[in-house]
């Protein structure tokens, strides 16, 4: 998911330029132990990990009212947390991270690690160290199951597509490169979140929702009312968000991801969460790691 709410990032950048670095550094110093401050050592010692996920995305991370959220991100997070701690009984505390608070939460130690449909981008790499990617999503389009008028992304010209506040996925449709992609003349329908977009799609005020296929698949799998076009046009590498500079944990995360794909867990999880969604091509091996520099 492309998210434009970079205020916090920008704010952090602003803080740096304002010479508040000392303050930020002090924050880091209070949460980290002296010596080896990497998450992987901490997890091995304390057997506790605080994980941030989405709470409102079915299929990826959804708060279902229980003690832990449910979804693909959540299951991958659990697998990797166990690998990091080297203990299947590791204690996990779940926190909600939203598109606009992932970076600050990692920075100030509110969460140790983030699995929240977190696309790896150059801008974010400046603030966060990314493990993975553990899967690659593609922007795709979801329409009502009985809609025959839209078969590929190009058909969205003149149609009503959803503009979720804080996300700019819609720009790939409406704008030309570099900001966008397809430059089609689509009408925008406002919404506060993708979950709202999907609710609108059940009614007659919206023709299509366009964002990462994995996000769409979660909604499509919930009811038989929607179909995904299967006409992807971008790559969104979902990474594991780590505190900036924690390369030791990043290496461990990458090893865990490779293991997850080789021991068949990845396939089980992908089938479990996205097996029912049509129009989705699921990967069979780990996507190439980005490197932990």
């Amino acid at each position: 998911m492309r998210v434009r709410r970079f205020s916090v990032v920008l704010a952090a950048a602003g803080a740096l330029t304002l010479g508040l670095t000392a303050c930020g550094g002090g924050d880091g110093g209070t949460t980290a132990k002296p010596g080896d401050s990497s998450l992987v050592s901490k997890a091995k010692n304390t057997k506790r990990v605080v994980i941030g996920t989405k709470w409102d995305q079915p299929g990826l991370g959804l708060n279902t009212g229980g003690s832990a959220p449910e979804g693909f991100d959540v299951d991958v997070a659990t697998y990797i947390a166990k690998e990091l701690a080297g203990d299947p009984n590791v204690q996990i505390e779940w926190k909600e991270t939203k598109s606009d608070n992932r970076e600050p939460f990692l920075e100030n130690g509110t969460v140790d690690i983030v699995f929240a449909s977190y696309s790896i981008t150059e801008e974010r790499k400046a603030k966060v160290t990314f493990g993975g990617p553990y899967i690659v999503a593609h922007q795709d389009t979801m329409v009502r199951a009985d809609d025959t008028g839209i078969a590929k992304a190009k058909d969205l010209a003149g149609k009503r597509i959803c503009q979720a506040s804080g996300s700019n996925s819609y720009k790939r449709i409406t704008d030309p490169p570099p900001d966008g992609e397809l430059d089609l003349d689509a009408k925008l329908v406002g919404a506060n979140s993708y979950s709202e977009c999907v609710q609108k799609l059940t009614g007659n005020n919206l023709d299509a929702v366009t964002t990462d296929d994995l996000i769409l698949a979660g909604f499509a799998g919930q009811s038989g009312k929607f179909k995904i076009l299967g006409d992807p046009f971008t790559d969104e590498k979902y990474g594991v968000g780590l505190k900036k500079g924690d390369t030791k944990t990043c290496e461990a995360v990458n090893a865990a991801i490779t293991k997850m794909y080789t021991d068949g867990t990845a396939k089980t999880l992908l089938d479990k969460w996205f097996g029912k969604a049509e129009g989705l091509t699921l990967p069979t091996e780990a996507p190439p790691a980005e490197g932990c520099a």
Binding site: A11, L62, T64, G65, N101, P104, N108, N192, Q199, Q222
Partner: protein, 302 residues
């Protein structure tokens, strides 16, 4: 209710009674028609389907979503209420100060925060804090700070009007027996003013409680977020039932608070301990400038 009816209408004679009966029947038919229309429209869209209402009679929905949401709402409301009351007390008294350099800035602050839309204020604080204090989770902070500044400013006006509503003779008498400024305020004016202010304060707290719902827009996990953002993806199609259930909770909470305010108002009317009359609930009308006499609404709403 019947007293206003008789302000406008004389006791009905035989013809008027007949007309009233006819009107009653007509009104009933019209209301039933509206209700029927709504029922049918909902039915066409399967909004009465038992499976979308089912979740709301299950304990898990309440313990997992609604109660945590309610706690989020009440937490924001309670924090904001405490801070707003403090803010209101400080700025309300500051506006009554004899010193111009205290009175005027306090007036400017109060008038400013009363005049700008609360949502703009919340957004602004939400975006401002990280650049001042570094990264962190400022959603609750921004919501509470916004609610505090706005409602605190309204409460400041309530405090000012409350103190001014105590008859002049009270403070004159207090000065005459040798009390100083602080003594007059603390021992004579405030105790009487508080009685007069209470109903207006509680009316403002109802506004504050309702305004916590703005947290939905900045994705604070409150009752409204649970109802519109988290419950529907869990129970597809259950948006309208969720909205109705949480609507009832909000309405119930606010009616309880309003009933409490009315009870207090009645009690303070009866009570002879205070010589101040209950002041009108606060309004959004800015007064004529910092420290320029009592707010206009108090004058006109006697």
């Amino acid at each position: 209710m019947s007293s206003q009816a008789t302000l406008l209408f004389d006791a009905p004679g035989p013809r008027a009674r007949l007309r009233n009966h006819a009107l009653t029947v007509l009104a009933l038919v019209a209301l039933l028609a509206i209700a029927w229309f709504i029922y049918v429209r909902f039915d066409e869209k399967d909004q009465w389907a038992p499976e979308i209402w089912q979740p709301f009679i299950e304990a898990r929905t309440w313990t997992g979503f609604i109660l945590p949401g309610l706690i989020g709402t009440l937490k924001a409301a309670a924090l904001a209420a405490v801070f707003a009351l403090l803010f209101g007390a400080v700025f309300g008294l500051a506006r009554l100060s004899d010193h111009r350099w205290v009175r005027v800035p306090a007036g400017v602050v109060v008038e400013f925060f009363r005049a700008i839309p609360l949502l703009l204020l919340i957004f602004f604080i939400f975006y401002l804090l990280p650049s001042l204090l570094g990264g962190g989770d400022y959603i609750l902070f921004a919501l509470v700070a916004g609610l505090t500044l706005y409602n605190g400013s309204v409460l400041a006006e309530v405090v000012r009007a409350g103190v001014l509503s105590v008859p002049r003779g009270q403070s004159e008498a207090a000065y005459a027996i040798g009390l100083r400024k602080t003594g007059v305020m603390v021992r004579i004016l405030l105790p009487q003013a508080v009685t007069a202010m209470l109903p207006a304060i509680i009316a403002q707290l109802v506004v504050l409680l309702k305004d916590t719902a703005l947290g939905f827009i900045v994705s604070y996990v409150d009752l409204l977020s649970m109802g519109f953002r988290i419950i529907p993806p869990n129970f597809p199609g259950a948006l309208i039932p969720a909205a109705i259930v949480i609507g009832i909770i909000y309405i119930g909470l606010n009616m309880l608070l309003s009933a409490f305010a009315q009870w207090l108002e009645k009690r303070s009317r009866r009570s002879r301990k205070s010589s101040a009359r209950p002041i009108a609930p606060p309004s959004a009308i800015p007064s004529l400038g910092p420290g320029a006499g009592p707010p206009s609404d108090v004058v006109t709403l006697k």
